[in-house]
Symmetry: C2
Amino acid sequence: MSMNYDKINDWILREDSFDAAHLGKCEAIMSLGNGYLGLRSAAEEKYLNETRGLLINGTFNKFDPTAVTELPNVPDMTAVELWIDGIRFNLEQGEVEQYSKELNIRTAELTREIVWAAPNGKKVKLAFRRVVSLSRIHDFCIHMDITALSDDMEVKVSSGIDGRVTNTGAQHFTDGEKRFYDGRYIQYVPVTTESQITFVENTVHRFVKNGSEIDVPIQVNMDTRNVYGVYQIAVAAGETLTIEKYCNVYTTRDLDVQDKTVAELQQYSLAQLKEQEQMGYDAVAAETADAWEEKVWNRIPITIEGNEYDQFAIRFAQYHMQMMVPAHDNRMNIGAKGLSGEGYRGHCFWDTEIFLLPYYMFTQPETARKLEEYRYYSLPGAHSKAAHNGYEGAMFPWESAWLDDGEVTPEFQGVDIVTGLPIKVWSGFIEQHITADVAFGVWQYYAITGDQDYMDKFGYELIFDTARFWVSRLEDTCRQIIESVNPETGVTEFSETVTNDGLYHICDVVGPDEYKEHKTDNAFTNYLAVWNIRKAMEYYNLLKESNPDLFDALNAKLSLDDYYKQWCEKVDKVFLPVPGETGILPQDSTYLTLQDIDLSKYKQQDHVNGIFRDYNLTQINQIQVSKQADVLVLFFLLEEMFPHEVKEATWKYYAERTLHDSSLSFCTHAVLAADMREKDMAYDFFEKSANIDLGPVMTSSNAGIHAASFGGIWQGVVYGFGGVRMLGGKLRIDPYLPEEWTRLQYTIIWQGQNLQVEVTRDMVTVTNLTGTASVELELCGTPCELEKTITSKLTA
Amino acid sequence: MSMNYDKINDWILREDSFDAAHLGKCEAIMSLGNGYLGLRSAAEEKYLNETRGLLINGTFNKFDPTAVTELPNVPDMTAVELWIDGIRFNLEQGEVEQYSKELNIRTAELTREIVWAAPNGKKVKLAFRRVVSLSRIHDFCIHMDITALSDDMEVKVSSGIDGRVTNTGAQHFTDGEKRFYDGRYIQYVPVTTESQITFVENTVHRFVKNGSEIDVPIQVNMDTRNVYGVYQIAVAAGETLTIEKYCNVYTTRDLDVQDKTVAELQQYSLAQLKEQEQMGYDAVAAETADAWEEKVWNRIPITIEGNEYDQFAIRFAQYHMQMMVPAHDNRMNIGAKGLSGEGYRGHCFWDTEIFLLPYYMFTQPETARKLEEYRYYSLPGAHSKAAHNGYEGAMFPWESAWLDDGEVTPEFQGVDIVTGLPIKVWSGFIEQHITADVAFGVWQYYAITGDQDYMDKFGYELIFDTARFWVSRLEDTCRQIIESVNPETGVTEFSETVTNDGLYHICDVVGPDEYKEHKTDNAFTNYLAVWNIRKAMEYYNLLKESNPDLFDALNAKLSLDDYYKQWCEKVDKVFLPVPGETGILPQDSTYLTLQDIDLSKYKQQDHVNGIFRDYNLTQINQIQVSKQADVLVLFFLLEEMFPHEVKEATWKYYAERTLHDSSLSFCTHAVLAADMREKDMAYDFFEKSANIDLGPVMTSSNAGIHAASFGGIWQGVVYGFGGVRMLGGKLRIDPYLPEEWTRLQYTIIWQGQNLQVEVTRDMVTVTNLTGTASVELELCGTPCELEKTITSKLTA
């Protein structure tokens, strides 16, 4: 029931005892994947509170017209039920004499070793291994050794493909075509009910005893949504029975099989399964380990010396960022829970641009480009959202799924303790900063990678189209929304006051801090909107000059000349909150005037959202309390715009009022604290951010890992202590080590040059490993030109 | 894990130890219900392999266009999860020191008594009681006493309404509106996805300690498809905490709330819940016990002396026949598993007419009429099936659900061991005797009840309309279907030979014996079809004479004059199989010529369908093996048409070749054996039929009880040993006791007169308890006129 970090030096995360009440944690944080598919690490044997999960990126389906689209939980192939002399193997009965579940993040192999005495006293040793191939993205396989330790035993195995799994009760598939081939290959062909994506799943079992394959008669079964074989094998005392289960999955949405009909795909995937079976488990596992070495560990090595947990944490973050990212397909993005659980339904948020993209941009630019292309191909959804809301240009959805889905944020979440009604989620309607975040992501990507091709094909258009939205979004009066509760119905109602100050405002929004709804002039939103418009103006002029053909095409498509006039007219008149005498930048027009309450109770709780058990959102809206970093993210993105004193005062003020009820909060705080040289605080926030999934709390990862927090861990290391930042299009490196570390080494790719940065307590060395171009950067406050290696002294 | 019959004299069926591997048996056979709703008796605490089930009769929904409609599993209200000092209460861990689960069939109350030591050593006694109201059909409630036996303890309770349940993975509901009222009443309003039936479910919890109600703070929760409260209560050593959970369910399909909008229904049902809560558990349970006494035990008493198990078995059958029958609504019928499980999807079959209807006709004619009206209101489905198949009149579906659904038999079931493909289910296409069965049911109902009003409004039309089908179904050539397997695809293909003998044939059918497909001139089908046509001809002439207005109306509607001509022309020319020299009536045109194999292996198996593990259906089709009674059912229905020697020889021949792989088989054999005075055999078959659900086999009732078999048990008692039969419209009573019994007493209602029949070893006494009319009957072979009481001597 608890995480064990004894083997983290060997890259191994371990659970050292079994607790049926806390299965979700390791299912999620030990999940396997390759960006195409994600597989929760549920045990082979079944448990009541397990959540099995096989998610295929981009295969969204909408259960019914009242539901939002989500990534469907695909019919399961990981369950292998065992009976020892008729007793179902599971760790809730009998004696568990030995237990360990391990994820080796270097090889991406999941293992379990168990010694179990069945209630009848017979003892058995079980060794499970499981791997999801990184190079053959459709494949995964399971290897099981069952050793009869004490007595002869009859082992019964029931295993196949089980379509009875759901997403928390929602079934996304029609009961598919089922078939046994050659009396052993099992195929199931379910189809998503609404998006009509056909899945082809195949599996086969191989049995080995005393080193040689044995022929085990299959008893075939086809039930509703379930197709499986039952096998009986006598195992004598001392003997080991090996069961291998090879699996693959294809869908008609996959780019690599677009040329095939369903019938062809059935045959092709079956042939592929036979090929995998031919390779054998060990070869698949070895190939996978090699692929991880090549794609991640050799290519993006990060060394932290002085603290083994932190070293493991950054690699663990890299592990997850690799297995969740759809590097194979530019029509999909990263869900808020990666591919490790049903939480957030596989939707992507601003998490990609603000928290995850930096990692990919600085280490795998080709993958970052795919993620950025996704935003371009999602423009149809952004246009329809804008039109639907009476705006122009591209208004990106707060939650995003398939390309033309548009907004997919659910409308309700949780219960209002005062009214007994569901809580309305306003993000999909009025959390609008996402559109500027997308534009900011484009610019970041361009600045860091120098990928002009991307800009020409996608980037400029995205910047223009989002700026078109913002200028249409500006309001020429200042509305303040007033919430009140109808005493009869218990329903929250809204009214507004309107004033006119000759400026443009953005009213009735939710900023990054989701505990403040219907606010006017959220600083983050307004500054980013203005940034977006100014960036569009800059590119308008630049492109007109440097690439008139492209300019003409985009001008014709987007009426840039018209919009440019509007941008010029309005951009300087947008209200931008400024700090008062206290030096504190107001989060929005009312935050600093709200009631202050004692928040210590909620800060001490080890679960999030505890405040909702005492207050409803209408009440929370009237309190100076923040869910997560808000203004602080603005400081982080547009660092150069704010003086140090303002940052410090503002930081202190909001930090006291922030509950960190979002996994996006700690990392931002960690980086900003590092920027301000608040060493201890920075390290403390970094540790908290590292612990979000990896730490000992056994419940918070149940619905899946916190994808963005892994980007946050990387940012804590490379942006925070590593001191890296892209500022105004330029590279800055200004590192230092926390007390706990003795050495930090990482690599980043800046405009095609792979730079290795080594930080010790008193020195930083930057080496251009690529060396095909010189790199301009500011190192520890000094602008310099890096040819091969450059060093700088650090002061403590 | 085993059934205990120690308390059957107290009307109590008991399970005396817990086995997580065999939950389905008692969930199904101990299920509670009232014809409106059926509630599987899953435990309050959850288990991996449980199947919770709340089914509301008639609320069919189709998951998707590829699925057949089914009775959806309604969001659950029976789960109440408990934690004792943070340890989840469940019997798979800790020590179970005492366990019993009991169903009292007299009071229809389910109870469980458990003494459990948690893994932390703390001991607790739990007493659960549960009742589904018989008079307030929307209501049920749970009563739980939790006594801290050894230590103080913290009890945590999580309970509400859980919409994550599915039908084997198929979700039939949209995630509904959720609400807490007054901080304690929980309401959930899911809607079926296709049939668009809105359900309103309500529940509330009440806590009592030391005899007085206590106020327990609720922690409210609304997750996806789940709305529930969490409560924490400290219980000191020796104290008893009582938790009561009141529940109700309404749907927009219910006749009693047709006048209400959904919003009104939400308020109304909530008010009803408050009323139930006011009554309290004990009052609801007492009212329910009274209702059972009045409706069943006082009204339809059956006494078997000499064997307690048999006495219990017949009451157990009555219990189930009461709780499954929709006496409240003529738009629905009885599913093959009643309301006790998802098996057969809530569809009704010929089971109603042939196996269940006799019970209701002879004991609750008003209920029987509802079931017969259902067939009339289902005519739209029967007409469309006929039209779709190129026939005329009413072709009833083999499986029937909502009134206009027509045929709903699934197309595939199980796997062909030879080809690896799913097995095609031909019943929905060619098991056509159901249409004659429906007509036969009408006639039986009329003859037994004398309900002329039913005949005038529904019955004649049904007889005519089914006869219209049959005459259109007759073929003027004799086709023999030949099956062969395509060696390339493995798929079975069909060809035919055609001969012409001047007679009419019914070719390519499945008879009652479903191990014989695509057969020509199935005896049961042909005889019943001819019977149907002749009955229509009889009524044509009768009605023309006796009720010309009705005749004219029906003639105009159904073109009776035209059809009468066809009936006259063809009815004598229909081929009817006759016994050869051996005296054996051929089941169809080829059965007697097929290969004979040694069937002993399959006869000895304690599970059904074992033969499919060695042969596929194409092969079984070529073997003299029967799934169930076929010709024997014909003997049973049209007894007067066949001489004793033929019955005897035929019986013997098929009995040897019948695997009883259908629960409909034993009871038919029991009654026929009794008719033939094969005492031991009759009793043996009767016991087997009584054991189908009540017996010790722990797996065969998982998907629900075998509804028709309960009718079969009643037939075994009243038709078999009790000697009752309606023959040619007349009542016959010709009883005798098996060795095991010393006395049998039952009542039947014959044309409005309630007759009590007492059978001892040497005497039968028939008493007309109603006594408002004399009854003509044949008693022990002697025609007589019953005024008040009549006795007859029995010879051993």
